[in-house]
Symmetry: C2
Subunit: 161 residues, 2 copies
DNA sequence: GGTGAAACACGGAAATT
DNA sequence: AATTTCCGTGTTTCACC
């Protein structure tokens, strides 16, 4: 990762693209207060230095039948680095597991899992997750409703460079 | 939300745009096996019916100095609908709170929070979250590392229409 | 869903400060 | 060194089949 400082224009670009990833370069430039070519160069630079890691359409999970989101709190029997990595690799391979975070506290991993139904989740839980190597215990927190779901991070453009 | 069935081409479009939200319409059409104009019509229809809720650049949180991600498990004193809504409104107004899910289980809400540092998080915790109306207890799970972070849902194009 | 055409945006190169 | 203007190329998006 580059440690070059971002100026106000860069942050403005990041904020706008985080808000609307399909904004055209001319509109982006207009908002940033510069002309299109340097704006595009900045975007390319932000992509190449990894500040922008990609662009994604936000697909409505429920519209596709994914009605159930569950956060699974997983405790492992062994926390040796090799065993942690092995579990992470297994979690990454399950398509219904969308996020896998190693956390400090009473659990070892927090997983965000999407399913078509509670039954489907239970099947995944009993035939995949709880029986996986080194998994000690799993607590499931079913998401009833999502009040906020903002991608990315807050970007304040009004700070000094 | 429309309950019209998506055909294989629609699912292909959704999958590709979820993967790369800035893919050009001609490339999208080429992959879907149709020409550009009908492809664009499908994309617009998917946007208007809400299957596609938006497009977002995936900004590297760490590169912007957000080194700390915390999952806060919040228990409320009162679970009356009015009080739940009040807490959700408050959570939605905090910019560092990126996600707020009401969950079933031992807690009431699961929040995903980003901060520049552990200190900044503790300040938020002690001056905002724990002192907020109706908040009973908060357990913080600091994310050590993220092994997987896939946006959206798995989209299988090879199912019958 | 496909075809053709106009409007527009992208992405160089040269000119400007 | 960076931004602005200009222009060729490709894409988007319209009307129509």
């Amino acid at each position: 990762m580059q440690r070059v400082k971002l100026d106000k224009i860069d942050r403005r670009i990041l904020r706008d693209l985080q808000e609307d990833g399909r904004m055209t370069n001319v509109e982006l430039a207009r908002r940033a207060g510069i002309s299109a070519p340097p704006c595009l160069r900045r975007v390319r630079a932000l992509e190449e230095t990894g500040f922008i890691q990609g662009y994604h359409a936000d697909v409505d999970a429920q519209a596709l039948g994914y009605n159930v989101t569950v956060f699974a709190m997983v405790g492992l029997a062994s926390q040796a680095e090799h065993d942690l990595r092995a579990f992470e690799a297994r979690a990454a391979a399950w398509p219904e597991v969308r996020e896998c975070h190693m956390v400090a506290g009473e659990m070892d991993f927090l997983l965000k899992i999407v399913s078509h139904s509670w039954d489907e989740y239970q099947k995944f839980l009993t035939t995949e997750l709880t029986v996986a190597e080194n998994v000690n215990h799993v607590k499931s927190a079913l998401s009833i409703r999502t009040a906020k779901n903002m991608p990315g991070v807050p970007i304040d453009i009004e700070v000094e460079d």
